[in-house]
Symmetry: C2
Subunit: 197 residues, 2 copies
DNA sequence: ACCTGAACACCGTTCAAGT
DNA sequence: ACCTGAACACCGTTCAAGT
């Protein structure tokens, strides 16, 4: 019962867990169907029983990432001890920190190259759920009179662009910064007050 | 003299040109040393005479991209018919448009995954030159009393993050927008006036 | 159902050999 | 100098065959 060669239906989750491990250890490129299978102790082609191809497997890993991100953002949004703009700022920080702390995983989530199966409804939904947290936060800020009355969707795009941009620049080493949290704080504060004198 | 099998020293530039073509036709992943050599009509290993490895070749292509981007940005900065903040906004637009119009090339420039040789001094310099255009623009805006007096470097990081973020979201299809130029304009304008009521 | 090995058509890269 | 083919150690994926 122990020295079994079969993965009774838990192969799928073993694949996801191990792929995530490999991603954080040495990047997406190190995840190879063959190496993955070997590490789990299964034949090279076994993974194809659970995922149509490598892209589908990586997409599933990316979806898990978005689910964690959504949870992180939702926790900030629901913190009723802070006013709406403080929470909006904190959400930005939390986003950037998530990305930096899960750099390789985040890269998989947002980069197109490695994953074709991107247009999957499940993937799109996972990504949209995260963004919805931001939109809801902005709407609350507007309802309570903190935030200007431009369309929440467009404001959301702006904040998303800024935090996402900062995150990717940091992750790819194109921007070096003493303190990530401070930098994110500076950005959201300046965003609040404006750049013009 | 014509039916030659030798590429008398123009192989290097042929490689760069053809690689750029392949990138814009079908993405970075389609650029394979073997396919590249075949398309030029040269043996599989010939490219190694000019580039240490595939990463070095792609890095050279990325550097060319940054040079074009720098030129684009410099042209906007030097347009003396507009006030500093107008030029700053226009530079943001120009940046995003460059990225969208050269999507696959831009991806190569900013994504880490495909290229290891990233830490090359030449590459870092090319990337820094582009960013310097932005910093210089901000400093001029401050000197002429348009822009708040925070460190130009940090303001630069913010604007860079926002435009870069918008660009990558658009390129990767995570954000769909009616009009890219309008969207960029909205963002820089809102950035100028602030988000708070 | 789930797993297997063999096989196919690809990679990047090295290296001894050619002109 | 510059180019070549053969070879090595990898890929993703398919497929007939096993339990």
């Amino acid at each position: 019962m122990e020295g079994k060669t079969y993965h009774h239906g838990d192969l799928r989750s073993a694949l996801l867990t191990t792929a995530t491990e490999m991603i954080s250890e040495s990047g997406v490129d190190s995840v190879t169907i063959r190496a993955l299978a070997k590490r789990i102790g299964v034949s090279r082609t076994a993974p194809y029983r659970h995922f149509e191809d490598k892209g589908a497997l990586l997409t599933a890993v990316a979806i898990e990432g978005y689910e964690r991100l959504t949870t992180t953002m939702a926790n900030v949004r629901q913190d009723q001890t802070l006013d709406p703009f403080e929470r909006l700022s904190k959400m930005g920080e939390a986003y950037v920190l998530f990305a930096v702390e899960n750099a390789t995983h985040y890269r998989l989530m947002v980069e197109n190259s490695s994953v074709q199966s991107r247009s999957t409804p499940a993937f799109r939904e996972a990504a949209l759920n995260a963004r919805q947290e931001l939109i809801d936060m902005i709407k609350e800020g507007q309802e309570k009179g903190f935030v200007i009355d431009a369309p929440a969707q467009e404001i959301g795009n702006m904040l998303w662009s800024m935090t996402h941009g900062l995150a990717t620049l940091l992750i790819n080493g194109q921007l070096r910064v003493k303190n990530v949290e401070e930098t994110a704080k500076f950005m959201t504060a300046t965003m609040g007050n404006g750049l013009l004198k």
